[in-house]
Each structure stands twice: as structure tokens, then as C-alpha cells.
Amino acid sequence: MSLRIVVAVKYVPDATGDRHFADDLTTDRDAVDGLLSELDEYAVEQALQIAEAADDAEITVLTVGPADAKDALRKALSMGADKAVHVEDDALHGTDVMGTSLVLAKAIEHAGFDLVVTGMASTDGTAGVVPALLAERLGIPQVTLLSEVAVSGGKVTGRRDGDAASEQVEASLPALVSVTDQSGEARYPSFKGIMAAKKKPVEALDLSDLGIDAADVGLAGAWTAVQEAAARPARSAGTIVKDEGEGGKQLAAFLAEHKFI
């Protein structure tokens, strides 16, 4: 039987652009181009490798986001995913992690799955909690932050690297994994992949298709509210350590104070 893999991919504002908040304190999406979150490229890559190792597998990439989020799906399809689901609805504007995970969970159930693969965090919101919330909502085991992952015999196994030790973890399918930026470089979309992506199906869904009440999502449905947002103050001048024999110690003290070591 075919192994059904769903990869959740987020469309994020380009971090090299000039990002701003809109008046309602959500991200101003018009101000800057978006792209597939770089950390989610690792998730797509791992899904592709799992699919290549399996006899028969099908990869669906899923995004919740505005119209332009199709670009992120296109990129994942040109890397080699088979089909895509795009959840788009005006009522989603301002949705928090609770709402996002709700919508993702419904869409994943809609698509059908044996394995869900996510990134370790988005590169914009960087909450890093969507994978755990998703697994809870789907009622499946979660093995998160893997730097190595493989599927065989109805199980997903992987390695999680901690500061002091590496853990070998496993879960029986259906399950959710999130993968880190140490899991292996994402491939380049090949030209054939780019051309083929045009013809791959992208299913568009809105909240009513998923049976979600608009009141549970969006700014109004959010469990948290952004009260205020201010640009980071300009960098102040650095500290100059004058080496009079104690320079090394002072440097170490500075780094320790700022929790770099």
C-alpha cells in the first residue's frame, strides 16, 4: 500500500526584504516578497528521501496562507512532491498558532496520511510549536527535531541530537516528525521538476470545505493578541575591550553575560 506523506510548508516573507507590521499588527504581506520557508525545504527533502526509499509513496505538500502562498507549493512540487493542498480564506488573516494548527490538522485529515513531516520552526513566526500542536490535534505520536529520519516496517525512526547526547527515537505510523536544518541539504528543483510542477494538481480549500468555524480562527479567534510592535532600536556602539593582560577574561565574561557561552 502506498505510503501517504503530508508535508506542511509555510510561505514566509523574505527575511532579506524590509519586513513591516500592518496597522492591525499582523505581518504586512504586501510590503515584501514571500517564499517557501527555508527550514521547510528540509522537511520536503526528508519526505522525498523517505518516498524514494519506499516501494510506493505519495507526497502531498500543504500550506495555509494567502494567494501568493502558491509559490511555496510550486517550489515544493518542483523539488518533487506529487500534489498540493492550499488552504486560503480571508477569515484566516491574523490566525495564531492555535488556529493554524487547527486548520492544518483538518486539511491533513482531508488529504489522508500515514506520516506528517514539518520543519523545526518557521523562519518568520519561529514559534516551533505547530508540530506538537498538530500531533495532539491529530491524536498521533510526535517525534520532533530529528536530524535523521527513516521509515520501515510501519515505523518511523530517527535521531535527535541534544547538547549532551543523541537519542534514537521511533514511533509507529501514523505519526508526525519534524526535522532540523541538520537533516541534509535540500535539493535544487531540477528543470524537469520545474516543468512537471506546472501539471501537478493543487487543491484549493477554504474554511467551509474543512468544516471550520471562522470564529475559531483569524485575529478575533486568536488566543493571544499582539498589543504593540516596535522596530528593534538601532544597534548601539559595541563594547571595546582593551587588552591589558586581562582581555581574554573580559571577553569570556562578556560572552557569558550575554549567554553566548
Binding site: D30, D33, D68, D71, R74, K75, S78, R187, Y188, P189, S190, F191, K192, G193, I194, M195, A197, K198
Partner: protein
């Protein structure tokens, strides 16, 4: 939706110093995706190392690079079937531009593989020859070269002396080819030779006895590229090694036309890299108390460079659209090659002056591009040859032979 249109829904989008004419609007989403793949590959795999390769005059990782280029689909990119990507001419051009923005040597590797060796086999080879070579060449597992030029015959290949004679059903090749890109690393050489039936092409496996390809060193241009001599001493080939689809000079010339088309784009890549280096430098380098970009003389240089650079890209795009529509003539490719390589080398030289002493350093790309383009100016038809092609097309008078 083109990204530029996004920034300001009312009125024209803001001025982009890197795309002053907004030529990005001419591209489709797929075109951009192709360009981004090549740009990222070159940024990660070529740019960090190319100055070192250039300084040492070697391309030690050519086989890895070929495989990676094969994996993304850059080899035989506009060809169809046999593992080729089947991309449009515009997409192929964009790839050439991005590759040459890294180094002309890398673009040459791809041009020779795809537009010369693979194109010749694809267009003029038998079905067996295509099956035998193209899938492995598209994957970068087998590198190809294209042997036309000889020590004594360059611009006038019709006078070539390499001969193929029939011996029973076999062919036996004798002669020398010179300045052959990829020669020493090739698994197959497409060699053009005189026969009793005119000039014919042969797919020569490079492990055939009598074939050797010593590398040419002591070059001051295309140093990150393998250039070789081909020595053919009684190279015995079976009857089916000849490319059945063509005889006469038309065969190699049509391949050259295809490769030249890629150069029309590629040269603008070298020019773009040099222009951007000069622009960035002019904005930050200060003399006489202000950035050198603030002096009128520097601005005149930058403005003229930008004008020629983007005119050249526009011309390349125009030719690409004609090629995709099946309406591109060889004279038009000559037009493009003549203009774009000549202007590109001028842009690189001007960029060199803006960088002052740093301009001659390998830490900046401009001198490397400028010296590379000396080869590009000569191969695939010298400036003079393209002037003669256009001159003949304009006047109807053939000036090739005095």
C-alpha cells in the same frame, strides 16, 4: 503576478539598479524558477572556489560539477527525450547567463556538452547513437567534446585536414584537432573529418586506440576550463560511428549556431557580474572625501555599462523568443554574438578601471571575466567572422575570400 508589480499598485514600480528596465517582467514563473536554481547552484558550488581554480589553472572537480549540472537538468537542456529537460530556448539562455555570471569556463563546459556534442548526436545521430550516449551525457556521467578546429584551420574549417577513410566497413581517422574544450575529460568526442563524401561527423569513444587528448596549459583565459588537443592516429571505428544525418559543413555550423545562441546570453552574465561588482565598489569606495560613484566620470561609466548590459539582455531575450517560435536565423545569432560579446568585454574592462588596483585582483571577479571573454570573443566565430556574416547578409556580397 510579477513581483515588481506588487511593490506599488499605483504607478510604476520603483527603480531597481540591478534591473533598471524591469526585464524580469518578461519572464514566466517557470523561467524564474529555472534561473533561481542555476543562480543558487553557481553561488554555492562555483563562486566560493572559482578564483582558486582560476589561479591554479585547473578545474579539478569537473566530473562532480558535470553530475550536479546533470542532476538539475542543465546538460542538453533545450533538447527533448533521452533524459534531457526539454526546456525553452529562453530558459536555456537564462541558465547560460547565470553560469557565465559565475565563470565563462563553467558556461563553456555546459555549452560544449549540450549545444555542441549532445546537439550533434541528437540532431544528426542514429537512434542507437542517441540511446548510447545521450542519457549518460544528460546526467553528466559522460562528458562530451566537439572537435572542429585544427592547428592550421580555425575560421575556415572547410579546409580541415583531418581525414576519415573507409577500410572495409570500418572508418579510420587521422589528424589533429586544437583548442578543444573538455577534450581531456571527454568520454565521447564528436569529431569532424574530411571524407570522400564531404565533411562527416563521428562519435568517437575516447578509449578507442589511437585517440589521445593532451591538455593545453599556459592559457591566460578560460583557466577554469579544460582545453585540449585531440590526436587521432589511425583511430579505427565501426561503420556505425559516423553520424548518419548530415554531410558537409552545414553539420558542424548548425551546432555552432546553437551554442552561439547560448553565448549571446552567457556573455551578458559575465558583464552583469562585473557591472555589479563595479557598482557596489563605486558606492562604497571613497576618494577625495566621497564615494567614487559620486563623480560624474564614474557615473558616465556606470550609466553606459548599464545601458549596454540591459540592451544586450533584451537582445538575448528577443532572440530566445524567436528561437522558441522557430523563427531564429543564423544571421540573427551572429548579430547577437557580435554585439553581446563585444559589449560584454567592454563592460568588464570598464568595470576593471572603476575597481582601480583591486580590479586586477582575483578577489574581485572582473579581471577574470575580462580575460575569459578574450576566448569567448574568438571561439564560436571571431568578431570578424560575424561581421562578414552580417556584411554578406546586408549586401548580398560574399567577402570571406578576399
Amino acid at each position: 503576478m510579477p513581483p515588481a508589480a506588487k511593490a506599488s499598485p499605483s504607478g510604476p514600480p520603483p527603480f531597481d539598479p540591478y534591473d533598471p528596465l524591469g526585464l524580469d517582467d518578461l519572464l514566466s514563473d517557470e523561467d524564474r524558477a529555472v534561473r533561481d536554481t542555476v543562480r543558487r547552484w553557481a553561488a554555492e558550488r562555483v563562486l566560493p572556489h572559482v578564483a582558486g581554480w582560476y589561479e591554479r589553472g585547473e578545474l579539478p572537480v569537473i566530473r562532480e560539477l558535470a553530475r550536479e549540472l546533470g542532476a538539475i537538468g542543465a546538460l542538453g537542456m533545450p533538447l527533448t527525450g533521452y533524459g534531457c529537460a526539454g526546456a525553452s530556448a529562453v530558459q536555456y539562455g537564462l541558465a547560460c547567463l547565470e553560469l557565465e555570471a559565475a565563470d565563462s569556463g563553467i558556461r563553456s563546459l555546459v555549452s560544449v556538452q549540450g549545444s555542441l556534442a549532445m546537439y550533434a548526436i541528437h540532431r544528426y545521430g542514429s537512434e542507437e547513437q542517441r540511446q548510447q550516449w545521450l542519457p549518460r551525457m544528460a546526467a553528466g556521467e559522460v562528458i562530451g567534446c566537439f572537435g572542429l578546429t585544427e592547428p592550421d584551420h580555425g575560421s575556415d574549417p572547410a579546409a580541415m585536414r583531418t581525414r576519415a577513410r573507409k577500410d572495409g566497413s570500418d572508418w579510420v581517422l587521422d589528424g589533429r584537432k586544437m583548442w578543444i574544450t573538455n577534450g581531456s575529460v571527454a568520454g565521447v568526442a564528436v569529431v569532424w573529418a574530411q571524407t570522400d563524401e564531404g565533411i562527416r561527423g563521428f562519435a568517437v569513444p575516447t578509449d578507442t586506440p589511437g585517440f589521445s587528448a593532451p591538455e593545453i596549459h599556459h592559457k591566460w583565459s578560460l583557466r577554469a576550463s579544460v582545453t585540449s588537443e585531440l590526436v587521432l592516429d589511425g583511430v579505427r571505428l565501426p561503420a556505425d560511428a559516423v553520424l548518419p544525418g548530415v554531410s558537409g559543413l552545414r553539420g558542424p555550423l548548425s551546432c555552432l549556431s546553437h551554442a552561439r545562441y547560448g553565448i549571446v546570453w552567457g556573455a551578458m552574465g559575465a558583464a552583469r557580474a562585473s557591472f555589479e561588482a563595479a557598482l557596489d565598489y563605486a558606492r562604497s569606495r571613497e576618494q577625495f572625501g566621497k564615494p567614487i560613484g559620486g563623480f560624474q566620470l564614474t557615473q558616465a561609466k556606470l550609466a553606459d555599462m548599464a545601458v549596454e548590459l540591459h540592451k544586450g539582455i533584451l537582445l538575448a531575450h528577443h532572440l530566445g523568443r524567436r528561437m522558441d517560435a522557430g523563427r531564429l536565423r543564423a544571421e540573427q545569432i551572429s548579430f547577437g554574438k557580435l554585439n553581446n560579446v563585444r559589449e560584454a568585454i567592454d563592460i568588464c574592462r570598464t568595470a576593471r578601471t572603476i575597481l582601480g588596483a583591486n580590479g586586477i585582483s582575483l578577489e574581485y571577479p572582473v579581471m577574470r571575466h575580462a580575460t575569459n571573454l578574450e576566448s569567448v570573443l574568438t571561439y564560436e566565430g571571431t568578431v570578424e567572422m560575424h561581421q562578414l556574416v552580417l556584411g554578406k547578409a546586408l549586401t548580398g556580397l560574399d567577402a570571406f575570400r578576399g
